[in-house]
Symmetry: C2
Subunit: 244 residues, 2 copies
């Protein structure tokens, strides 16, 4: 039983070839996020493949979040595309229950702290100004709407992730944020959820603006700790039967 290094032969890989060609086209035309790419019918015609094959290929890209399809309108790029990209589709056996949410929160604590620290190191003037802008918007919404600032809150954190210089942070957290949304449709009954975390947004910003990585990491850890407390409090308030 000797060792071979014979990869399986590849006879048919239409849709893969379609994606490669499309990636090349996007590069050549220098298309960026938001821009529209050719219609399925045109692609099928140009590439000399069936429209079905084009659709399967685009379905793949859609699943990777690279592209967005709008019926009646067209297909649009959602992210930068280059021929040499590595994809790691990751599906986690999570759950809508309390422990599942707690686990995603632990991941978020890990990433949030690191992202804040990296941000404090790398963020330039423009990035810091953008974060401050999101912070102002959030604080304004918080005061005028009595604490209902979930959307603005999320945008603030996104700005931090983006300024970390590592797109993986935003991608991972974005997936988890979606899970949170699922859970928040059935709110925990904690009326002032998120109130406790509010002041730490500004302290995080201040540590970032001061280019203090360790300080930013510490403040981020505090913020997540308050969210965890809120969550535990909410779970305690509920009957266990509601949590399933």
């Amino acid at each position: 039983m000797t060792e071979f290094s014979l990869p399986p032969i590849q006879t048919t890989a239409r849709d893969d070839a379609v994606l490669k060609a499309l990636a090349g086209f996007v590069m050549q035309e220098a298309l960026g996020p938001g821009e529209k790419l050719p219609t399925e019918r045109i692609l099928a015609d140009r590439l000399k493949v069936s429209r079905n094959t084009v659709r399967e290929a685009l379905t793949r890209w859609e699943g990777l979040g690279l592209v967005e399809r709008r019926q009646g309108s067209g297909t649009y790029l959602k992210a930068a595309v280059s021929p040499d990209m590595l994809h790691m589709p990751l599906t986690l056996a999570g759950g809508n229950d309390f422990t599942g949410l707690m686990r995603t929160l632990e991941i978020r604590r890990a990433l949030e702290a690191e992202a804040a620290a990296l941000c404090a190191i790398r963020a330039g003037k423009a990035e810091i100004a953008e974060i401050e802008r999101k912070l102002d918007i959030m604080e304004e919404a918080f005061h005028s709407r009595a604490g209902m600032s979930a959307e603005e809150d999320w945008e603030f954190h996104q700005a931090v992730y983006r300024a970390s210089g590592n797109p993986l942070f935003e991608q991972i957290i974005a997936a988890m944020h979606e899970l949170f949304h699922r859970f928040w449709e059935h709110p925990l009954g904690v009326r002032d959820f998120g109130h406790a975390s509010f002041p730490y947004h500004r302290t995080i910003y201040e540590r970032i603006a001061a280019h203090d990585p360790d300080g930013a990491r510490a403040e981020a850890l505090k913020l997540i700790a308050t969210v965890e407390d809120d969550l535990k409090r909410g779970a305690a308030n509920l009957k266990l039967s509601d949590l399933k």
Copy 2:
């Protein structure tokens, strides 16, 4: 494989509904990895949708690595499927170059530090013993094979992730490890890659065994820092043309 209880599909969002129905079917039949699921033609017939729609849905699952399609044979499950899964499509632009590896390393630093801290809090006697066992194996391999202990090194870290009490850590890191497997083997031509990180494995274990979260976190950060240094050193040794 005879009786099904697959109700027909409603309207709009067909392929999504198909996936939901399929996920329910997989649960109901208690299908596990490796098992074969109904043919596309049968699914199309039972769900009262076109075969193309079934194909698009399956293409989605295939893209997520949940399913494998073998022409002439059938479609087989590759992972456990449950209706509430967390999908996390990660894309790394410019894949196999230095910055890509660096970015995954930043994620690893975030998760490794948090996992070590959680581990120090939650690990029981059995988990700590298991980690020590992996550590001993690693150190033995390191000394007898002059530093080539990549596999044993990886198993040590896995044991830590597992003892953190949160399976998400292991799943996320495992995906990245698989993605950069080739780099872990011969990373950038640095001969003694990983040597510098070796002593920190034991210090991490000691902090965990002492139930010292902050200490464990600090040691984990040091370990990753040495790996980062090795990586930077390797990149500096290489000509830029090789990095491309």
